[in-house]
């Protein structure tokens, strides 16, 4: 019997194709599930307590939205600042900056609360058609340090299907359906809402119950996006943000300043500023790996920010940041901007509130990061990818 007649048998052909489909599903399914394993964050010398997000909304316990909340309390009393990384899991600078704080910062006065993977679900899956790698690594003195790289929203397996229209609660503003899983459109959230709204609600509860004075939400944006290398501040936080921008300028870091638009609902700075007593701000850096103009998608692109397509677009005058062959490196530029920004926020806060200071005892230093990257501040992962 020749191959053609063998193949022309419908049952046989169906069987072969079905077996191939099952094989592909098994291989890729294993790969998909493997991304749920996360790389542990080491408890640095400054960590005094570790909570979980579900402490603030018990229904999150056991879900992929639950995540660690690190508390770095100083010896002396003071104010409380919350730093959030990873609300968007495809914006690594915020996530890495938060991890660096947990592993290396020590507070003298006041309390630093850090959530490195605020939308933990987002880290467990990439976005279709974005070809995101599941992880990337940085070199440290003890070996490779691995980080997850996920999608912009909560994983679809955790919240599905998206409605045609996403209606923000409580404002009623409508957005396209895929924004239903975008945590930075879900604030202030609700206890009985969808998965993403519940995660956001837990954060809002944390801010309320722990009497957080200042919320700093760390993000990145694609280089073609106008709001970049910028602080976005709620109106009550604007005065503070102005002194931070000046402080950063003195350190050689140019940063823009934007008021949080009152008609764009669901964003952390808008809703936490409106619904809690905290001052709320957000910081953006430039991440080519989430941009639409980027060339080949690789883990190196995430780390170096070097991309020839962006260089081309910059030459055509289509970008809002300068872009040349040096790229925008994750460690020396983007994480550094976030870390320096947080430090300046603590400084500016303390100047205004001397009786309730936020004073670090040990903090990642700009000069060292510029020279050696984050290697001195991070520890290698126990397990590789």
């Amino acid at each position: 019997m020749n191959l053609r007649t063998w193949w022309n048998d419908k049952t046989r052909r169906g069987g072969v194709l079905l077996a191939a489909a099952v094989l592909v599903a098994a291989v890729t399914g294993r790969d998909f599930v493997a991304q749920r394993k996360h790389f542990a964050v080491h408890r640095g010398p400054g960590v005094t307590q570790v909570w979980r997000l579900s402490d603030f909304l018990p229904s999150l316990a056991g879900t992929r939205g639950d995540t660690e909340v690190f508390v770095l309390a100083g010896r002396k009393p003071g104010a409380t600042v919350l730093v959030m990384g990873g609300i968007h899991a495809n914006e690594p600078a915020g996530h890495v900056a938060a991890v660096t704080l947990v592993e290396s910062a020590v507070m003298e006065a006041g309390r630093l609360i850090v959530i490195p993977t605020t939308n933990a679900s987002g880290f467990t899956a990439g976005d279709p058609q974005e070809a995101n790698p599941p992880a990337f690594s940085l070199a440290t003195r003890t070996g490779l340090r691995w980080f997850r790289y996920g999608g912009r929203g909560s994983a679809a397996v955790d919240q599905w299907p998206d409605p045609d229209i996403y209606l923000h609660h409580p404002s009623g503003q409508s957005l396209s359906g895929n924004q239903t899983r975008n945590m930075n459109r879900a604030f202030p959230g609700r206890a009985d809402g969808n998965f993403t709204e519940r995660c956001a609600f837990a954060v809002t509860e944390l801010v309320r119950r722990e009497k957080v004075d200042l919320v700093i939400d760390l993000h990145e944006a694609s280089p073609e996006y106008p709001v970049i290398n910028t602080i976005v501040a709620h109106e009550r936080a604007m005065a503070l943000a102005v002194s931070v921008a000046m402080g950063l300028e003195l350190r050689g870091i140019k940063i823009g300043l934007e008021a949080s638009p009152p008609n764009l609902r669901g964003l952390s700075h808008r809703e936490l500023g409106d619904h809690t007593p905290a001052l709320a701000v957000l910081m953006e850096t430039a991440n080519a790996a989430e941009g639409r103009i980027r060339g080949r998608m690789t883990p190196e692109l995430i780390v170096t920010g070097r991309d020839k397509m962006y260089v081309k677009a910059a030459k055509a005058g289509r970008l809002f940041v300068s872009y040349d062959e040096r790229g925008h490196p994750l460690e020396q530029e983007r994480v550094l901007r976030h870390l320096a920004g947080i430090e300046e926020f603590m400084k500016a806060w303390t100047e205004e509130n001397k009786e309730r200071p936020l004073l670090p005892a040990t903090y990642p230093e700009q000069a060292i990061i510029e020279k050696e990257g984050l290697a001195p501040y991070l520890r290698a992962s126990a397990d590789a990818l």
Binding site: T28, P128, Q129, P163, D164, L175, S176, R294, M309, A313
Partner: protein
């Protein structure tokens, strides 16, 4: 020549070769092209990305599958031809008015869900028999429904491309209703009239008409015959009317529930046959979405997508409008919504300074035109499927002129966005 351009050219060449020379289905051609692109790009056969890419259309695939089964159930139960008969008998004296009403009916599901597939497989299925009764040829009927779904997709209140772009540039989706309404509703009516008027027969003899149509099953079942239509309508509209109170259960579940009801409201439905033929007809379309998903993901992975976007944006600013009019519909060959996100957002940012809402509404309509660009031309493809045509290319051919007219309108609006913006308060 840049490496990414070579990858892009290889992908296009393999697709064209597979489709025109080897006569492979469009879907298989796209998949083979995706794998070829990945190989040339040095990614091997990236199973992870191939599978991830197709999940972009997972929801749409479920909609197509359930919609086809729903349609088969309606067909078996007799509601489709009975409704077509009743409407034709009631309104055949005023065929032009009827045609325009049918056009609005086709556009409606697209207006509230933002997807052209929804329009074609729901109200498209209802109006098709009426149009045929009126004397419009099968291919032309498919073409009119395809155009209606395309325009309805952009018509307000829900215009997904406009929402995607607005979201991408941090602009609230507010104030779009009237610009989109004026851009689409009159256009839809004019298109229906222009495409249908030559075929409309004003001298239909009621007796001959009645003899030509399938017998009505209304006397046997009464109003309950229409229950599956009513239930689907309520399920679709209620969450839009009262979004705070009614949960949007998703179109696949709505269609399944309505199909379930349709089993008991009319003529006997041969369920096994309905599901089998429905799925059989749905598979080429579902496979196409899978192929498109793989194709885009590999373009992203290898940098070919970035090359395409960067090259489009690098053109001088005066040419940007022309680029938008060519590149956005071209992206529609693989995915109109993908084009809105990937190309529409940076394009709109580059065109800022014009009246933003008007400019964005025009760009959304340009994006919509992409649904009619061959070889995929999904609007024509779904519509040809609906009318049981062998190939969708004759449908595309009938749509060339109307599509170009819509494109011209959108481009003119984009060019004049600044000027018009000054006139509207």
């Amino acid at each position: 020549m840049e490496f990414e351009l070579i990858i892009l050219l290889v992908m296009v060449a393999v697709f064209v070769g597979a489709f025109f020379l080897l006569r492979l289905p469009v879907a298989i051609g796209l998949m083979v092209a995706a794998v070829a692109g990945a190989l040339v790009g040095g990614e091997g056969v990236p199973l992870r990305q191939l599978v991830e890419g197709m999940f972009a259309f997972f929801d749409l695939i479920l909609i197509i599958a359930t919609a086809m089964v729903y349609m088969k159930v309606l067909e078996h139960s007799g509601v489709l031809h009975t409704l077509g008969r009743q409407v034709t008998e009631a309104f055949h004296r005023r065929p032009t008015v009827l045609l325009m009403a049918l056009m609005l009916l086709v556009m409606f599901p697209g207006m509230i869900t933002g997807a052209c597939a929804t329009a074609i497989f729901t109200t498209g299925a209802l109006v098709a028999p009426v149009m045929l009764n009126l004397g419009i040829p099968r291919v032309q009927t498919a073409a009119i429904i395809a155009m209606g779904s395309l325009i309805g997709m952009i018509a307000p209140p829900v215009c997904i491309p406009a929402m995607i772009i607005a979201e991408g540039i941090d602009m609230p989706y507010v104030g779009f209703f009237w610009p989109l309404f004026l851009l689409t509703i009159p256009t839809g009516l004019v298109v229906a009239w222009a495409m249908g008027r030559r075929h409309l027969r004003h001298d239909l003899d009621p007796a001959a008409l009645a003899a030509a149509m399938q017998p009505s099953v209304f006397p046997a079942h009464g109003w309950k015959l229409y229950l599956p239509l009513v239930v689907l309508f309520v399920l679709m509209v209620a969450p839009k009317v009262a979004p705070r109170h009614v949960y949007d259960i998703g179109l696949p579940l709505m269609l399944t529930i309505s199909a379930g009801i349709g089993l008991f409201t009319g003529e006997k439905v041969r369920l096994r046959e309905a599901v089998q033929t429905g799925m059989k007809e749905a598979i080429p379309v579902m496979a196409l979405m899978v192929g498109v998903g793989m194709f885009i993901e590999v373009m992203t992975l290898t940098g070919a997508r970035g090359y395409f976007v960067a090259a489009s944006l690098a053109l001088p600013k005066v040419w940007l409008v022309v680029t938008a009019a060519v590149a956005l519909p071209a992206f529609g060959i693989i995915s109109a919504f993908g084009g809105a996100s990937v190309l529409g957002v940076p394009m709109t940012l580059a065109l800022l300074g014009k009246d933003q809402i008007l400019a964005l509404s025009s760009i959304a309509l340009i994006v919509g035109v992409g649904e009619m660009v061959p070889p995929t031309a999904v609007a024509a493809l779904f519509s040809a499927q609906l009318l049981g045509l062998e190939s969708h290319f004759p449908v595309v051919r009938r749509c060339v002129l109307p599509t170009l007219a819509v494109l011209a309108l959108a481009v003119a609006m984009l060019v004049w966005a600044n000027w018009v913006g000054k006139l509207t308060p």
